[in-house]
């Protein structure tokens, strides 16, 4: 079996820039010629200094940022989908079945409890409500979120508490590709270790992981490979 | 064109018509009667559907039955015998005036006996005696549109009728039950005619609604101010709207008629003195008198004619 067949994600010559029209069409190139792949059961970490475009790459793969050039191919069952050209409806489907994403910040939904926020992606994949809520409880317990908080909407939680809800929400479902944007940034050592354990579990289950970890210790413990994003720096070529 | 030929033409048309100082038969001119008859025919052809017609000014105010009178005028022939009732009585002002009007303008026979009449004009009641196939009942209607108070726009109610979009009608009945615990409407109670049009039976008490259903006689409705005519042809299904768990119920009375003892008729309350004395008697005076004549007795029955009003 070649590596091509087990690649879950493959980026080819992906480029991204922003044009800020409110500032007279100011062009801000972000990355160019991004090419790498992530295979099943492997954790690839994006490296390089902050502001170099690591988060932008994750957001492009998730469909949150648009891809200017190149292609981002994701294996979806037997099919390969190019995120750069997929229809919105296809992207919504991919997010449910194939691509999980843990962002840096939790986008809390008014009045929805922490536990239900966590359970939702599992239910979207067809898990029953009771089972999903039980699994959500397990994850929140594993991440040491006090049980008295589970039934509360996380809008008023501390940054660390919100981040743990976010992580649980990202890890509960069975996505073949998981994108992690600094999931451990606001966590203490104990919870960082829990996240490392969760990542190891996912890898063992065959999940392909693409992540950003500023914490060197965590990075070393989870990374199979590091892709240095400095090599993809764009140089003012996207001026409008 | 000079005036002479026009005068000649006019007198030709009038030939056989009323003489100087006379009314045409039944007051309305023949053209108007034909127009109204066409509307009546259309109404009969589409049971329950409100047919617009060019309502004429009549020598009496709106609210006195101008719609019913025009319908009566249009269908009346010299051989007809006319009965007019207001509530159930033949002797109230409105009934007396209309009867006198046709006696004078059409010269037809009038009667107070239900079974003798070929045309009966009514303001509220349907006679207790079932109508025969040779009888026509003409209703005076103040407001023909059953949806009016739910939906004020005439353009919209017409579309609702056209599409049989009648959910709103039941909303009204639902509100009644929610507010009063039962359907509180006691008159003007909406009916569905032949499974199609929802119709307002005019201010008849709901007691009379069942009499409209599968009735042998022809029932015509005239609304003068609103310029509408509608009809229930003989032997047509007329169902009062209701809910499965709150079925339609006619008004019920606790006591029998004080004069004739009837327990199956619609009763009026009559004040008998200024000390709070009162009695309940048949609203259909002819029916009540008929029963008394054939020996039926209520607890306040007084022998002799015109018992009503003499009890004191």
């Amino acid at each position: 079996m070649t590596t091509e067949q087990t690649a879950i994600l493959r980026l080819r010559d992906v480029a991204k820039g922003f044009v800020i029209h409110l500032q007279g069409g100011l062009a801000i190139p972000v990355v160019a010629n991004v090419s790498f792949e992530v295979r099943a059961g492997e954790c690839v970490v994006l490296g390089g200094p902050s502001g170099i475009g690591k988060s932008s790459i994750l957001k492009m793969v998730y469909g949150n940022y648009r891809i200017d050039r190149g292609e981002a191919l994701v294996a979806d069952g037997g099919e390969v989908v190019d995120i750069a050209s997929a229809m919105p409806r296809r992207l919504i489907g991919l997010r449910r079945t194939t691509i999980g994403y843990v962002s840096q910040f939790l986008r809390a939904i008014p009045r929805v409890s922490a536990r239900d926020i966590v359970a939702e992606p599992a239910m979207a994949q067809g898990m029953g409500e009771v089972e999903a809520r039980a699994k959500a409880g397990e994850l929140l317990a594993r991440l040491n979120l006090p049980e008295r908080l589970w039934s509360l909407p996380p809008a008023t939680f501390s940054g660390g508490e919100q981040q743990r809800v976010n992580i649980a929400r990202g890890f509960i479902a069975e996505h073949p590709l998981l994108l992690l944007d600094e999931p451990t940034a606001s966590l203490d050592a104990v919870n960082r270790a829990v996240v490392v354990g969760l990542i190891a579990d996912k890898k063992a289950a065959g999940t392909a992981i693409l992540g950003i970890f500023h914490d060197e210790d965590v990075r070393e413990r989870v990374a199979d490979r590091i892709v240095d994003v400095s090599g993809f720096a764009a140089h003012g070529e996207a001026a409008a | 064109m000079t005036l002479e030929p026009m005068r000649a033409a006019a007198s030709a048309v009038l030939e056989g018509g009323p003489g100087e100082g006379e009314y045409n038969f039944a007051y309305l001119d023949e053209q108007t009667k034909r127009m109204i008859r066409r509307a009546i025919l259309k109404a009969i052809a589409i049971p329950g559907y409100q047919v617009p017609f060019a309502s004429r000014d009549m020598p009496m105010p709106y609210g006195w039955g101008t719609g019913g009178i025009q319908v009566t005028a249009a269908i009346l022939g010299p051989d007809d015998r006319l009965k007019v009732i207001d509530q159930g009585a033949d002797d109230t002002t409105n009934a007396v005036s209309i009867r006198a009007f046709f006696a004078r303008t059409a010269g037809v026979e009038t009667t107070t006996r239900t079974h003798e009449a070929s045309v009966i004009q009514t303001r509220h009641r349907i006679p207790e005696l079932a109508l025969g196939a040779d009888q026509v009942l003409v209703y005076q209607v103040p407001i023909p549109e059953p949806l009016r108070f739910l939906e004020p726009r005439e353009t919209e109610t017409r579309v609702m009728h056209a599409l049989a979009d009648y959910g709103l009608m039941h909303v009204k009945l639902y509100e009644d039950i929610a507010t009063h615990g039962h359907i509180a409407k006691t008159y003007d109670y909406p009916v569905k005619v032949e499974g199609r049009y929802v119709m307002d039976p005019s201010p008849t008490p709901k007691f009379d609604n069942p009499k409209m259903d599968n009735c042998a006689g022809l029932q015509l409705f005239g609304a003068g101010r609103e310029k509408r005519i509608y009809a229930i042809p003989p032997f047509t299904s007329v169902k009062s709207l209701d809910f499965e768990d709150y079925p339609f119920e006619p008004n019920k009375f606790d006591a029998p008629c004080a004069l004739c003892g009837a327990t199956d008729t619609y009763l009026d309350e009559v004040i008998t003195d200024d000390r709070g004395g009162r009695m309940f008697v048949c609203s259909d005076t002819d029916h009540c008198e008929d029963r008394q004549a054939s020996g039926h007795r209520g607890h306040l029955h007084v022998d002799g004619p015109a018992a009503r009003g003499t009890v004191a």
């Binding site: 648009r66 409806r89 929805v112 | 579309v159 979009d165 959910g167 039941h170 768990d245």
Partner: protein, 258 residues
Amino acid sequence: MSDQPLLVAEDLAKYFGARVGCREVGFELYEGEVLAVVGESGSGKSTLLRLLSGQSEPTRGRVMYRMRDGVTRDIVSLSEAERRFLFRTDWGFVHQDAAAGLRMGVSAGGNVGERLMAVGWRHYGKIRSEAETWLERVEIDPARIDEAPKVFSGGMRQRLQIARNLVTSPRLMFMDEPTGGLDVSVQARLLDLLRRLVADMGLAVVVVTHDLAVARLLSHRIMVMKEGRVIETGLTDQVLDDPREPYTQLLVSSILQV
């Protein structure tokens, strides 16, 4: 759920004389999808909503709807009877002004029950209990079933309007600024309720709003309209986080961050 779209707009245009209401609008909407149409007043989004819901006829283009029997029909070709039937069974319409979508003098129960009665429910007890169920689902105390919406708060009226629409399990809802004019806390509650009902019932929704927060919370996809045309479209978070058009960037940058 079918893999065929429920609602398709094809090259829609509406002119009012020489003035453009909207033009060149095309999209597909599938069951379970929420599409937000955003833009400022006069951008054509309300005109578009009227075209989509068959309340006005397009100057060009057409709107196709897949009926419950699986047959896709041109909205304009529907008879008035069919259109009304759709509106009291398979479609819902939530107005910004609750008074336009409710009968203000009729009790809450009567408001919710009207559609049921229109489609032939004739059992008072069943209509009432269904109305109670729906009042609960929209978080109105069922004990208030006999009160008329004129005594309700703005938020309650809006929730009642939603219950009134959903009682026949429609597949498609049109919403015109559903949270407009409500207090922020009342908005949040309404949005959460809508979000959950839409997800639970697998509803397709076209929601017109000038409020990007509403679009963010409710919708999967977004269409940005300006001067009658769709200038940008895509996944909601994509358009809001990575806006391309100058106008969209202006809209997004105008949101107050809290």
